[in-house]
């Protein structure tokens, strides 16, 4: 397939800008203006439509294929949420309206969605307040850790370290570092959870907090979390819950009830909105009483007369984390999903997510080494160690699956398991789909015994076949106009 630049024909046009009726001369200082024309492709509207439709047909997505990408919760996004998000009263709102004089009267519905959603998330998680602003999970983490820092600053605490177990999400240490803390890592014990003895040694008066992903990236729930919370709280540390794996515990366990002070939710994972290449994320952050004063502004509050409004009166606030109020249309889709599922429905979501993961785990462990052989939550981690001895690595199995019309699971993460393959089927997949996946994995195992060399140029069925990943990383060139 040609790049759109290669379809360019000099002088061809698909769109004509309206003539400017304000003189721009003098308005934009010369130094900020382009010296040369921008080399955009010159194509017709039809060229553009065909180009992007053709690209979209090559998509590998949840709508077309099974997507067991561990840690990412790639579940099916029900289409009724799209219908709701398309309601004109939501989709055509101007985001400045609630900030204008009397403007809030015109957006009561949207503000009510944000207000109600906050209460729903509080009920689901046991937290006291939520900010809807963060635009993704890692953005939520940063928001949470900034509030943690504000808390310590306000109390005059001298804090330097954030503790992160090796089974946490990779973004956790990155977040802590960006927020200015030093990272202390704690290893997993033989059960795949944080080593308590090691943790005990590493907690000091300078511990600002602990970031826990539970269930962790091994799909294992840490049943000592209350003890851990006690240890961290004893030095006035803050317990951070990474909610990326919340899909496993809905209606079963509330982070707010077991000692967590702050958490984020990946709405796009647990509450089923399009993500990855399919749409923007949303990472609301919940806090308990301790951290309420530091929440970002604005918050949606309600006046005595029942009117919803944007409240900026949080003097201890860490400020703005995003423009406006977060990814509103994503929050709206997740809100619709929660209302549609209801409390019992959400419990069923987790029941089936866990059941499906255990089904795959039990069947695959005959042929693939299971890193921790115990009941898992929403995902489990295998190692391709047996296959690697035959010269077939986790990456080769991943590429093999693409040719079987299955999105590869997460490979080489978590780092604590060699040649790891992390599988999360989610609750939306049927037994038939999972059986097809298991068959494909068995086929990969058989082929690794018979023809290990046949893996090395897979996949063969895709528009882009096996890339040279080393060259791509060492000599990266993303500029069409620049020849290397």
């Amino acid at each position: 397939m040609k790049l759109i630049f290669e379809k360019s024909v000099e002088g061809r046009q698909g769109f004509r800008n309206p003539r400017s009726d304000v003189g721009l001369e003098g308005e934009i200082p010369l130094k900020y203006r382009r010296e040369k024309d921008c080399p955009l492709p010159e194509v017709s509207e039809l060229d553009v439509v065909r180009h992007f439709t053709s690209l979209s047909q090559r998509n590998f997505s949840v709508d077309t294929h099974f997507y067991p990408l561990g840690s990412c919760t790639m579940k099916y996004n029900p289409k009724f949420t799209e219908t709701i998000a398309a309601i004109e009263g939501f989709s055509n709102l101007h985001p400045l309206l609630p900030q204008l004089n009397h403007g809030e009267k015109l957006v009561q519905g949207a503000l009510e969605v944000l207000y109600d959603m906050e209460r729903l998330l509080c009920e689901i998680t046991g937290m006291d307040r939520f900010t809807m602003q963060p635009l993704a999970g890692a953005h939520g983490e940063l928001t949470g850790v900034m509030m943690m820092a504000a808390y310590h600053k306000a109390k005059g605490n001298k804090k330097k370290y954030i503790i992160v177990p090796d089974s946490a999400h990779g973004t956790n240490p990155a977040t802590a570092a960006i927020a200015g803390y030093e990272i202390v890592s704690v290893n997993s014990d033989e059960n795949g959870v944080m080593d308590l003895e090691e943790l005990k040694e590493k907690i000091t008066d300078e511990t600002a907090g602990l970031m826990v992903t539970s269930p962790n990236t091994l799909g294992i729930f840490n049943s000592d979390v209350d003890k851990i919370a006690e240890m961290v709280h004893a030095v006035d540390g803050i317990m951070y819950y990474d909610g990326a794996n919340l899909n496993a515990i809905l209606g079963r366990c509330r982070p707010g009830d077991i000692g967590f002070d702050v958490m984020h939710i990946n709405l796009h994972k647990t509450f089923s909105t399009p993500h990855g290449g399919g749409g923007p994320g949303s990472g609301p952050v919940g806090v308990n009483e301790k951290l309420i004063p530091y929440l970002p502004i604005s918050m949606v509050d309600r006046r005595d007369d029942g009117m919803y409004y944007l409240n900026y009166d949080y003097p201890g606030s860490i400020g703005y984390l995003a423009s406006f109020y977060g990814n509103f249309s994503i929050i709206l889709r997740a809100y619709a999903y929660i209302i549609m599922a209801g409390g019992e429905g959400l419990k069923e979501v987790s029941n089936h997510a866990v059941l499906n993961a255990n089904y795959i785990k039990e069947r695959l462990k005959e042929r693939f080494h299971l890193a921790y052989d115990r009941i898992c939550m929403h995902e489990s981690v295998f190692s391709a160690s047996k296959q690697t001895e035959r010269g077939v690595h986790a990456i080769d199995i991943a590429k093999f699956l693409i040719d079987q019309n299955i999105h590869p699971p997460t490979v080489y993460f978590p780092l604590s398991v060699k040649e790891s393959i992390m599988i999360e089927p989610t609750e939306t997949e049927s037994k038939q789909t999972m059986d097809q996946f298991i068959d494909a994995m068995f086929k990969a195992d058989e082929l690794s015994q018979q023809q290990p060399e046949s893996f090395h140029d897979l996949p063969k069925t895709t528009p882009v076949t096996r890339p040279d990943e080393v060259k791509a990383a060492r000599d990266i060139n993303t500029n069409y106009f620049q020849n290397t």
């Binding site: 160690s385 080489y412 993460f413 780092l415 060699k418 990943e469 080393v470 990383a473 060492r474």
Partner: protein
């Protein structure tokens, strides 16, 4: 997995070659093999103070980004600039041309926290 007799090793798979209060540091054959093709290395600066088992380098491979810890404390006196252009040298020659930095050691006693080649080989067997 290859080890070299006269070097000392850490549990995090770094090696150190000590000569008269100075030392050369790199990562082991096992480390380069586990990382896979290395695509980028962030070297320390000459003059940096490093602590024993403290982070001092990060490497990226097609599989992962990973920290490299200094086997002993001291001051960085030289770095292998060639690795900026050719990080794959660590894969090809982890114990020689793929050396990472030279350190002026501040505490030779720290040697006792390291493993000999023989002990390291046994350690590798134990971690599978």
């Amino acid at each position: 997995m290859e080890t070299v007799e006269h070097l000392l090793y850490t549990k995090e798979h770094e090696w150190i070659n000590i000569e008269d209060g100075e030392a050369t540091v790199g990562i082991s054959d096992y480390a380069q093999e586990s990382l896979g093709d290395i695509t980028f290395i962030e070297l320390p600066s000459v003059g940096d103070e490093v602590e024993q088992f403290g982070e001092f380098v990060s490497v990226e491979s097609v599989k992962a980004a990973s920290d490299v810890f200094s086997p002993m404390s001291g001051e960085v006196i030289a770095v292998n600039e060639d690795l900026n252009e050719n990080p794959g040298m660590i894969n090809k020659s982890p114990y020689e041309k793929g050396w990472i930095a030279r350190i002026k050691l501040s505490d030779s006693e720290e040697q006792s926290n390291l493993m000999t080649a023989d002990e390291y080989s046994k350690f590798l067997v134990s971690v599978g």
